[in-house]
């Protein structure tokens, strides 16, 4: 088994809002090995992006982390000072954000932004990086952007959505070494270029031997790209398995529902969805956060959050139905 790159342990993230606290992340456990491609799936608002922003320490001001640890290569990044943190990010981590329009600064050219990213990728003191321009040009070229030279002098508004997303990928190409986080990288793109962009990301990661975290609500995308998948629901990791295993035999009722709600091209009719929606984070259900929507919920589900337990080789699920090591639905 290869070495662990990232290990998130029992992470809680809260948001202070007017008149209360939103308890969004509720003890997230998550790890990524070196060179591994991991998927993180779940419906909108379940805390996928929050988990990643916590990992990069770019949560908004009103967020706090009351509990938990985040280890990158064995270092707890919640305990680093801002300089060590900048060093760590510059050297190893990169993130492609969901919306390429807001992920690029509108008042600086691509070249200006790329220049600083490359400059500080060698460390936060901004040592001299030789051939910054060449690195920038080749990154843009590798991201399959036409006319990289002209691209350097362009502002984001002069580019189309697909080009902007590729520019974001070029940023990652120019610096990524350890870990690339791709947050819904294709959601805002045309179907026709989704595939190209995904291929680009996959190539980049494989070439650099970096790890990938692909955040998506599309199970198909996760299946195509990743080796292992985490399923997240309302701030909890509720299931984790090798991608092929998960699709073959999902355990958690939520995962089952998620798979059943994928529309199929062949076969008639609409897919069945999951009734209800994500709970209010201000007063989340005391037990399993999925219990109110779960067709199999029974007494223990409303008491406490079930822990992640092994149900199969490398297959973990957080559900009381499997607490005896086997499926147990007699109370359902």
């Amino acid at each position: 088994m290869s070495e662990t790159l990232l290990d998130i342990k029992n992470l809680h993230v809260w948001f202070k809002v007017y008149g209360g606290v939103l308890k969004v992340l509720n003890g997230v456990n998550f790890n990524v090995k070196i060179g591994e491609k991991v998927g993180l799936v779940g419906e909108a608002g379940c805390g996928k992006t929050t988990t990643m922003k916590a990992l990069l320490r770019v949560l908004p001001n009103l967020a706090l982390i009351p509990e938990g640890d985040i280890f990158v290569r064995g270092k707890n990044i919640l305990k680093l000072n801002s300089r060590e943190l900048a060093d760590l990010r510059g050297r190893g981590l990169s993130m492609i954000f969901q919306d390429p329009t807001s992920a690029l600064n509108p008042v600086f050219t691509i070249g200006q932004q790329l220049d600083d990213i490359i400059k500080y990728s060698a460390g936060s003191s901004g040592q001299k990086v030789a051939n910054k321009k060449n690195i920038a040009l080749s990154a843009l070229h590798e991201a399959r952007l036409p006319d990289p030279e002209r691209m350097l002098d362009s502002y984001p508004i002069q580019l189309s959505g697909g080009m902007r997303q590729r520019v974001c990928i070029a940023f990652a190409i120019a610096t990524a070494r350890d870990l690339l986080i791709a947050d819904e990288p294709t959601t805002n793109l045309d179907v026709t270029i989704q595939d190209q962009v995904l291929r680009l990301i996959k190539d980049l990661v494989e070439k650099k031997g970096a790890s990938l975290i692909l955040i998506t609500h599309s199970l198909g995308l996760a299946r195509e790209t990743t080796e292992r998948v985490y399923v997240m629901y309302a701030g909890n990791m509720i299931e984790m398995a090798a991608t092929s295993l998960l699709f073959k035999k999902p355990f958690h009722p939520y995962t089952q529902g998620l798979l059943a709600s994928v529309p199929r091209l062949s076969g008639g009719g609409f897919a069945e969805g999951i009734p209800g929606r994500i709970p209010n984070y201000r007063n989340p259900p005391p037990g399993c956060r999925f219990a109110p929507r779960c067709p199999y919920a029974f007494a223990p589900c409303t008491k406490a959050m079930p822990p992640l337990i092994d149900v199969d080789d490398g297959h973990q699920v957080a559900c009381y139905l499997y607490q005896n090591g086997q499926e147990d639905r007699r109370n359902a």
Binding site: P60, S82, A86, R89, A103, L104, P106, I117, Y120, T175
Partner: protein, 341 residues
């Protein structure tokens, strides 16, 4: 967008704006009730003397003809005589405008430097004690009008502690520097008279602070909220996530997009100060254009009113062009798409 054609176009438009403004203020000055000639000569002046002055000022002619005559004079560089000072309006403006210009100039420096730096520091340390203090005082700054600040500052720093002078442009009895620009601070420097410069400068400080406090507080608040808005955007998170240090992100990637709205507001505030300054000028006995403007308006001094308003119009238009250039420089969305210009 290229700068040359842009400025030329704006200047061309400005001429029409000034033309419209002149018609408007020319009419308003004459429509307002009250006979300028009678007001100038006083209630005891004989009727025939008043009538002669009316004729002399063409006030007996139809409005259109009056305007035509006025334009003819303006074309020859003449703004007519003031009834209050009994001098050519041009000469009055030449004397009073530089005084206000140097006062508002210092005010503008306070507004820009104070407003932006307070806003930036406040945003950088959002929700800390420093931020809270700045926010509290900026509320106070906005709700307290400049003339109230003028009185408070004068009392504290002029009479309780004798730090700053409280009256006029120079200490009584001091002979002003040889006129070059009309601004004492600059003229004294050009003459090499540093003692005079210091004297003139000290006279500017209290009124400039009084004028600057309300718009500066406003600018600080807008800068802070604009920074706070941008702070949580993905493009900032992205830069931080790539390891760009905080000082670079804040000072460059956050500051530039956040300056656009405060700059626009500050420029309008600064332009408005030329007109609003009259109370503060009056309190500090500062012979400026704003004070002169109010004085001539109360006396229905038609030529002077039109002259002062036209000068203010030119000031507004110039500042607007300057701001548009700065904003276009800061924001490529305006520069490249030609939006809002």
């Amino acid at each position: 967008m290229r700068l040359g054609p842009f400025v030329l176009r704006r200047l061309a438009i400005s001429i029409f704006v000034l033309f419209g403004l002149s018609i408007l203020i020319f009419l308003i000055a004459r429509i307002v009730p009250g006979d300028p000639a009678r007001m100038a000569l006083g209630p005891r002046a004989p009727v025939d003397v008043v009538e002669r002055l009316r004729q002399q000022m063409h006030l007996d002619r139809p409005l259109l003809e009056q305007y035509g005559l006025w334009l003819w004079e303006v074309a020859h560089g003449n703004l007519g005589d003031s009834l209050v000072t009994r001098r050519p309006v041009k000469q009055d403006i030449r004397e009073f405008f530089p005084a206000t210009l140097e006062l508002v100039g210092l005010t503008a420096i306070f507004i820009i430097v104070g407003g932006i730096s307070l806003g930036v520091i406040s945003a950088r340390y959002a929700n800390t004690w420093f931020d809270n203090v700045v926010r509290l005082f900026s509320y106070l700054g906005i709700v307290t009008p400049a003339f109230a600040w003028a009185v408070i500052l004068m009392l504290l720093f002029g009479f309780v502690w004798h730090i700053f002078p409280t009256y006029g442009r120079l200490t009584e009895g001091v002979i002003p520097p040889v006129t070059i620009t009309g601004m004492y601070t600059i003229d004294s420097l050009l003459n090499g008279r540093f003692d005079l410069f210091w004297d003139a400068f000290m006279h500017l400080i209290l009124p400039a602070i009084a004028l600057a406090l309300p718009p500066m507080s406003q600018a600080a608040r807008i800068t802070r909220s604009s920074m706070a808005d941008n702070q949580n955007k993905d493009c900032i998170a992205s830069m931080i996530a790539y390891g760009v240090p905080n000082r670079v992100v804040t000072g460059k990637y956050l500051l530039k997009p956040s300056l656009i709205s405060p700059i626009t507001v500050m420029a309008l505030d600064i332009a408005a100060t030329f007109g609003y300054a009259f109370m503060v000028e009056k309190i500090f006995g500062f012979p400026g254009l704003a004070r002169y403007g109010i004085q001539v308006m109360l006396n229905k001094d038609v030529n002077a009113i039109v002259g002062v308003v036209m000068v203010l119009g030119v000031v507004f238009i110039t500042l607007n062009i300057v701001v548009d250039i700065i904003v276009a420089y800061l924001d490529p969305r305006i520069r490249l798409l030609g939006r809002n210009v």
